[in-house]
Symmetry: C2
């Protein structure tokens, strides 16, 4: 089949709040090939990615992303990496291109999955998809008391693992942070897995992060996530050297597989967290999963938007039985839940299973998506380069 | 002073060709603070960077770049890094932000330089700016014969060093590449410095690059630049281990100082090439210069557009006397020459000197810039988020 159309749809809540909740808007991708459609999602600033899709060429290595996708043959798994390489080379100097490619790449797997009547994980070479244990991923409460309530609530919902992040954590005193972590542990109970996400708050200040290790260790925290900027490998390594039972996690900022591999090699992380909607798609994420496996590092998805993005982010390590934990947003904005027809709800046993369906197996609810769809227009020299396409009535 | 306006101007040739010439368009940045202006330039896809400047917020760590710049106090060098950090944190998940920040950061140095009546290199702590030896940076000819002519021409112009890159190099046979390199050497004569730029053409194929080492060594090539993708450190390292007198160069793809430092630490490069218009600006570039110095790696600018960008890229290592070589585009598009009032032409001795002026010391020619200025309009929900501002009559 031949890719004949690449369409982007910017969906958003009417009002976006200045909080760490990444599910307030999203960028839906639709590919068309013959009579088939494929859907994907970029974990990216929607307007910026739209601009990178349609921008005028700057030179031979700074072309709009669309130029390397439209008209390409897509008949096999190798075509997906071939087209991805084309994008990376033709848009080498277009920084946003990796985020933009990510949603397109996911949609290519959807197209190919539909053509082959196969789920993505099979196309990736996995024989089966193992169930994953979801950790309830959420923001810290504004106060320790609020965090305590949130922890109790997810425990009551049956989650055996939970992550708290962002919010006030790391910005106040060591004591305030200690209260927050202790509240999270108290609310979850002793036997649940507790994860803490610092959201790069300490930049590269190893001492600031180190000052929180005592409470993290006392509360049996499994991992401390993103204490530093993604690139601050030396800081990660120094902290990892004395973090004891508290392991480090990171990697969500990786926009190509090299960056994630460098973290595995040089940052002393024990968990590598990859968002298929950022790293260039499912194929790049799978490279990281293979690499992590070979080096004794546990692969984990990063996801904060829809269950289409969730499915896409689970596929790369679906066949890795021992890499069981998975990120699962439990307080997404209405948008992120409304806009897909299928959902990956936890089963009776509390575990998440990938759909036994073609592709990612999660498709948009067009009626709902239309409610959130924003009108966008981009003109250069008076020429209309982008205007929001029609979502139509086919999925 | 307080930053009261951030304006972007997309300049372009009427027709952009599908060649490796990065000077066919550019993104000019103007900051306004009180009665002062500051100018900078992003080495970036203009439309995509404009979108990242004005896009709606997605969440607390994915804000438009403008949000972290407008209204900020700028009274000291430390304010520049403070504002840059704000951008990086508030736009953590906006990939394009680093390219967008770069031009803004350069304009902040211009503002501060004007306020202090000091050149940037002084603000960076250098006592003086040493002259640099420009290498004539250009594309390979379509044929070896054409390359021979180009090499003779730059030699006749007085350049003691030249770089050839992109074009057909690396895509054809080993013999064709050998002819190209030999032609370049022949045209330059025996005593000139010859540099070769592969433009990432071999992705991570060490054998393909290795097959070209014989001719590169025979022709006394000083460096082989970007044989692989920026992130392919292992491939770089393997090639460096048997490249002999031909040293490896790379780093232009770095969009933060960490990436460049990782290349220094792990890719076996002997020359690190940094574009201040991409890496986050002059301050980030200076961090890399310091790091390179301490590790025996030679710092080199990367520049392919105007002399404003050239001056900005030279400032970070202006005070490093031994790091003498500098990239100097010799076949820029008319645009890149026309739009500045000052130029860094080689002196009688063939060397380049930074202007003894405030800031970068290169300012736009507004009349010329207006000729190349493109009308851009971006609307979301009917609201006009960006329309090309007036260039006015002040520099």
């Amino acid at each position: 089949m031949k890719i004949e159309a690449v369409d982007f749809f910017y969906l958003s809540l009417p009002e976006v709040l200045d909080i760490g909740d990444g599910s307030q808007d999203l960028l839906l991708v639709r590919l068309e090939a013959g009579d088939r459609l494929g859907w994907g999602e970029c974990e990216a600033s929607p307007l910026t990615s739209i601009a990178s899709l349609v921008c005028p060429m700057s030179h031979s290595a700074c072309k709009p992303v669309r130029a390397s996708v439209l008209g390409q043959r897509l008949d096999d798994v190798t075509d997906i990496s071939r087209i991805s390489n084309l994008v990376r080379e033709n848009s080498l100097d277009l920084l946003q291109a990796d985020h933009t490619l990510s949603g397109i790449e996911i949609a290519m797997w959807d197209l190919l999955g539909r053509a082959r009547d196969a789920p993505v994980y099979e196309l990736l070479g996995y024989r089966r998809a193992y169930p994953k244990m979801p950790y309830a991923s959420q923001l810290f409460g504004a106060t320790a008391q609020e965090t305590l309530q949130k922890a109790r609530s997810v425990r009551d919902q049956g989650f055996a693992a939970a992550k708290f992040g962002w919010g006030p954590f790391g910005n106040g005193s060591v004591e305030q942070d200690a209260d927050q972590v202790a509240a999270a542990r108290e609310g979850l109970g002793e036997d649940a897995i507790l994860l803490i996400d610092a959201g790069t708050v300490w930049r590269e200040d190893v001492e600031a992060a180190g000052a929180r290790l005592t409470v993290l260790q006392a509360c049996a925290t499994t991992w401390l996530e993103e204490p530093f900027y993604s690139g601050a490998h030396a800081a990660y390594r120094r902290l990892a050297a004395h973090s004891g039972a508290v392991k480090l996690a990171g990697g969500e900022g990786s926009h190509n597989s090299y960056m994630a591999k460098h973290m595995i090699d040089h940052a002393g992380i024990s968990y590598v967290q990859i968002d298929a909607g950022r790293i260039g798609g499912i194929g790049s994420a799978k490279h990281v999963a293979d690499y992590a496996c070979a080096r004794g590092v546990t692969y984990v998805n990063h996801t904060f938007t829809t269950h289409l993005a969730l499915s896409a982010s689970l596929q790369p390590y679906a066949g890795l039985e021992d890499h069981i934990i998975c990120e699962y947003p439990v307080e997404p904005a209405s948008l992120a839940v409304d806009v897909t027809r299928e959902h990956l709800w936890p089963g009776q046993d509390g575990l998440i299973r990938l759909p036994e369906a073609t592709g990612p197996g999660v498709t948009p609810d067009l009626e709902q998506a239309t409610r959130y769809l924003l009108d966008v227009e981009i003109r250069v020299r008076g020429e209309l380069l982008y205007s929001t396409p029609d979502l139509g009535d086919r999925v």
